[in-house]
Each structure stands twice: as C-alpha cells, then as structure tokens.
C-alpha cells in the first residue's frame, strides 16, 4: 500500500532521531500515565461505591434515630419506637420488610477471660432477609426467640474470631452486660459497612432480649425497610418521612429527629477523599497532553524547516503534496502513539505501586486504554496537522534552492 509506505518514511525519520523523538513523546507519556491513574482511581472509587451500595442494599431505606447531616448512628435520641415501625408497616404501601432494630455501639462482649468491643444489634427475624445476611453455621434469630426474649445471640465473623478463634462456637456462651447468652449461629462474612467500617464486628440478639434484658431501652436505634418496588423507593422514603414527622409532631422548619437514608445518599458520602486527587491528576493529564502537543508541534515545525531540502527532493522524485502531508502526519501520530504505549506502561506501573502509599481505591479497566488511544490520536492529529500542512505547502522549487 502506497500510503503505508509513505507513512513508513515518517516512522523511519523518528528512528533516526532518537533524542528528538523522546522529547516529542514525553508530553503524551506523562499525560497518558496521569490519565491512566485518574481512570483507575475513578474506576476504583466507582467499584467501592457499588460495593457499599450493594452492602447497604439498593432496595433498602434506613431510618436511624436522630437528625443531622451525617448518616452515622445517634445514641441519644429516644423518640423512634416500635410503634413507629408498626405505623410504617400499616400506612406505607409496597414495603416487603419493615425491620426495627435496637443498637448499641461499643459494648463489651466477654467469653471467659476474653473481651471484645462489638456493636450489638437487637433484631426481629425479618432482619436476616432485610440485610440478606444469613448464618453460615447454626440458627438465625427466630420468631420464637423474639416471643420468649430468649437469651441467644448470633455472632459476626470478627466477633467469632476474636472470642473463639478456630473453636466451634455454637452452643457456647458469651456475656454482654452480665447477661449470659447462648451462641445460636455465626453470620457469613460481609466486609465493609456502607460507611466504611467493619460490618462483621457485630453481635445479633432478638429485639426483645436486647431491649428488655441487655440494653434496657424502650426506643429503637433504627428501622430498616425493604421495598417491593425499587422504582418507588424515593416516593416511599418521602411517605415514611411524612408519617414519622406527623407521629413525632414535627413541623417542617423544625429539624427531624430521624433520618431517611437510601443507597443514593450512601453513594454520595462514599465519593469522598479520592476526588481532589482525581481532579488534580485530570488537570495534570490535560495540561501534559496540551503542553506535550505544543512541544510536538514546535519540534515538528523546526524539523520541517531543517528538512526543507529533503522535502523538495521528495517532491522532485514524485511525492505529491498529499504524500508529504501523510509522511509528517504519520510521524506526529507515531510519536503520540508511542507516547501512549509508554504512558500506559508507566500509568499501570503507578497503579500497581499506589496502593502501597495510599488508601485510594484503584481498579484498572479497559477504559483508560481506549481513552488514551483516543487522546493520543487526537493530540497527534491536532498538533501534527499544522506542521504537516506547512511541509506539504512548501514550493519544491524554493525548497531545492
């Protein structure tokens, strides 16, 4: 193919001028490397958020007691009650599960001489379905446990490991607030909580046992609701808010004493820290590509000037304007594609090294490669056209003089 042969001339010129080629490549290299890291961070963050949303439950609404902005637990508010949960069950249509919870953070859980600070949740049997979180050994919380305020508990993986190690825990006993509880089951591993903490650091009790025997409270920590129809989630969240405001006699300018949290709100908080770094790197990537492109263009323009006689000769032996244009554009594109390849390598290397220095989530996917290729072609074309055009426009008679 003739155009390929002529493009080959441009590439040969690169091989003949290695330092010049390196200088032309540098900008694209840095730009693409930064781009790769930004994309990997973006993808890492996206996956982290997805994981949290998945853990939270895309079809779930959490109603923790206490107002304010942050979705953390508030132990001091005592206005959320079992009657509120019943009212939601009764008055808001389209809900599959309404799961009231009492909770206490940082309770000392003992077994013989071992202590462990765990989060304790009192729950109804529907809780397992509400969180899609089941026991891997033993039994979960049952309706009978709830009815009889049974002194039983189910352990999260972290608590199980801390108190029992590799031992078989089912049937053994632990103490919380001097209440003796039989271990009925052990939950499956869950990983990070929607807010980023350890989700497996939990002990689950029947709600009645927790309220009457262990925590001695009348109020709930939170109510978790699972919808039948995720499309109606927002509308249902609104309805729950209205209902509770009415029951708690809150008039709108007044602050709520509860919050209604959906997966969307969780996602908003998860974006967090990596954002600033991402923006900085994206700016760096853009700048490098532009500056690199300008450098590339200038070196090419100088090279056109230096090679005026060569261009004249090529025209004399049969190169058309278009051929000369092709040659220089190929040279420019080869430079940026080379820079892209090197930049991807450096970027992937950085992505491999970054987790050692920072907790920024990183995930490499195919998008940076596609974007880098697009950026390389765009920069190579945009900044290559001007020099190529100038080379093509040279008058062969003048050039050969």
């Amino acid at each position: 193919m003739r155009p390929l042969r002529i493009a080959g001339v441009g590439i040969e010129a690169l091989a003949a001028h290695k330092l010049r080629t390196f200088l032309m490549t540098a900008g694209t290299l840095v730009g693409v490397a930064a781009l790769t890291v930004v994309m990997a961070m973006g993808e890492g963050t996206r996956r982290k958020i997805m994981k949290r949303i998945q853990n939270f439950g895309p079809d779930a609404i959490m109603i923790p007691a206490g107002g304010g902005k942050r979705p953390g637990p508030d132990m001091s508010t005592t206005t959320l009650t079992l009657q509120d949960a019943d009212a939601i069950r009764r008055d808001v249509p389209g809900l599959r599960i309404v799961s009231p919870m009492a909770w206490s953070f940082q309770m000392s859980v003992k077994r013989d001489d071992r202590h462990y600070q765990a989060i304790v949740w009192g729950v109804e049997p529907g809780w397992h379905d509400a969180w899609r979180w089941y026991t891997v050994t033993g039994e979960g919380i049952s309706a009978a446990d709830l009815a009889t305020k049974a002194p039983v508990c189910v352990l999260g993986q972290t608590v199980k490991r801390e108190l029992f190690g590799e031992e078989y825990a089912i049937g053994q006993h632990i103490y919380i607030n001097r209440v003796r509880l039989r271990v009925a089951g052990v939950l499956g591993e869950r990983g990070a909580s929607p807010m980023g903490g350890d989700f497996d650091n939990r002990v689950i009790l029947p709600l009645t046992t927790a309220m009457r025997r262990v925590m001695n409270v009348d109020h709930l920590g939170a109510i978790r609701v699972i919808t039948d129809d995720p499309a109606r989630l927002d509308e249902q969240a609104e309805a729950i808010g209205r209902l509770l405001r009415k029951r708690h006699h809150i008039e709108p300018p007044e602050e709520d004493d509860f919050r209604v949290i959906t997966a969307e709100i969780i996602a908003r908080f998860a974006t967090g820290s990596s954002r600033t770094l991402s923006i900085l790197l994206a700016v760096l990537a853009g700048l490098s590509l532009v500056v690199g492109g300008v450098v590339l263009m200038n070196i090419l323009l100088i090279s056109v000037k230096e090679r005026t006689k060569e261009i004249g000769l090529r025209r004399a032996v049969g190169a058309s304007r278009r051929d000369v244009f092709t040659q220089f554009l190929a040279e420019s594109l080869s430079v940026t594609l080379l820079g892209m390849a090197a930049g991807l390598l450096v970027g992937c290397g950085l992505c491999g090294a970054l987790p050692r220095f920072s907790r920024v989530p990183i995930a490499i996917s195919w998008e940076p490669i596609a974007l880098a290729a697009a950026a390389a072609v765009a920069v190579g074309t945009f900044f290559g056209i001007q020099p190529a055009r100038r080379a093509a426009r040279l008058d062969p008679v003048e050039a050969l003089r």
């Binding site: 090529r314 049969g318 304007r321």
Partner: protein, 244 residues
C-alpha cells in the same frame, strides 16, 4: 517527447511582475541529448523547473510525451515526475545518514506500485553509474563525483523517459565532471533523452544540440556536429596528471 509552445513564466503578482520566460518554443525528440545554455539570470533554471513539472508556466502549452501537462493538478504532476522524469541537481541532494542504495530507492517509494525487486533495481542502477562497490556507503563516505553518480542512479531507478540535469558538474572537479558526463553519454547511447542545463560551454558541447537562452527567449538553437569526446578528454587528463 517535449513540445514547448510559447511558454511564458512571470514572477510576482498584481502590480509588480517580473517576466522571466517570454515565449519559449522548441521540441526535443525522444533520444536526444541537448544542452540548455545561458548566463545566469536568463531563465534557464526556471525553464528546467517547468520542464521538470516542479513549476507551472504562466502561459503557453507544454506537451510531455504527447500529454498537455499545463492543466494537471499536483497529484497528477507528481505522478508524472515519478514515472517519466529523473532529476540530477548541482548539489546532489542526497539524504544524509542514508546508504547509497537507500538513496537510490527513494523514487520507488512514491511509485504507484513498489516493485518486488526494488533492491535489485537500485543495485543495478548503481552498477550503471560505476558504483557497484559503493552500494552501502553513505554520502559522507563518498567523493563529490561519486555522490553525483549516486544521484544519477537515483534518477535512473524508475526507468524515466527524460533525464533533467541542472548544472550537474557545477560542484565537481574537472575529472569527476568528465566522469559524470561519461555516464550521460552512455545513457544517451542506450537511447535515453537527456537535457542538461549549464552555463559552461565545455559541458554543453558534449551534447548533440545546444539551445541558448537570452533574456527569457531562445537566442540560438543549433546542432553540435562534433560533440566532445568524453573518453578522449578523460584519457588526456589522466596523461596530464601522470606527467605532473
């Protein structure tokens, strides 16, 4: 082969124009060896550029091998240059850091189809100009005369109908110049059409015909009844050198 009919070329545009060629007409037949002469500023370089399709006339008609080339676009002219014309320049214009063979291959890159035996063609062209043993030498490793012969090989590789040489001996000593003229003579004997532009009477007299330009017009167009004998002159030169 070549038919010029009242060719004019004017430089500049608008108010100030400088006519360089003011109506040139002549024909060159296939297989002729002609010299175009004139003192500097008489338009011989301009004429050479027009004949070589590097420039367009301002007026008149130019038939090359029967085709009117005055109205052709850049791509078509480039194609014709590649296929029909071989250039030899005063300054050689070889690519530095590039072997003799690669220099000779250059026109083939722009050919419509790259010949599968391109390497052989290039080597053969170098043999024709007497550089069989310099195939892989770079220009800076060759003498001026050898460089000019590489340039001639480059002009030959596409098997063109017309060889256009612009002061081909201008940068060479007498002996190298004679060697180059010797190559032209052999090419002429093979039936190629050769046009040499020169200001040097001695160079022109190697051709069969001399066209003299003066003030942008053909002042004289004559046959050379007894062209100079390259071999005899070279032999004489060698004798002189031996005596000195």
């Amino acid at each position: 082969m070549i038919e010029l009919d009242d060719i004019t070329r004017t430089y500049g545009d608008g108010a100030v124009t400088t006519p360089v060629l003011e109506g040139i007409s002549f024909r060159v037949e296939q297989g002729e060896y002609a010299a175009i002469m004139g003192t500097s500023g008489t338009g011989k370089s301009t004429l050479m550029n027009l004949l070589g399709l590097l420039d367009r006339p301002s007026g008149g008609r130019y038939l090359l091998g029967g085709t009117d080339v005055t109205e052709l676009d850049d791509a078509a002219l480039s194609h014709l240059r590649n296929k029909k014309i071989g250039f030899v320049f005063q300054q050689f214009h070889l690519l530095e850091r590039t072997s003799a063979k690669k220099n000779v291959l250059l026109p083939l890159i722009y050919a419509e189809r790259y010949p599968p035996d391109a390497d052989r063609l290039a080597e053969q062209a170098l043999v024709t100009v007497g550089l069989a043993d310099r195939v892989n030498y770079r220009p800076n490793e060759l003498s001026g005369g050898q460089q000019q012969r590489v340039a001639i090989a480059r002009a030959l590789v596409n098997d063109p109908e017309l060889i256009l040489a612009d002061e081909p001996t201008g940068n060479l000593d007498r002996r190298s110049g004679l060697e180059v003229l010797g190559v032209f003579k052999r090419l002429h004997a093979e039936g190629r059409t050769i046009l040499v532009v020169t200001h040097d009477q001695a160079v022109a007299e190697h051709a069969d015909r001399i066209i003299v330009l003066k003030d942008g017009r053909v002042a004289e167009d004559r046959r050379v009844d007894h062209p100079r004998n390259v071999e005899a002159e070279l032999a004489e030169l060698k004798q002189q050198e031996a005596r000195a």
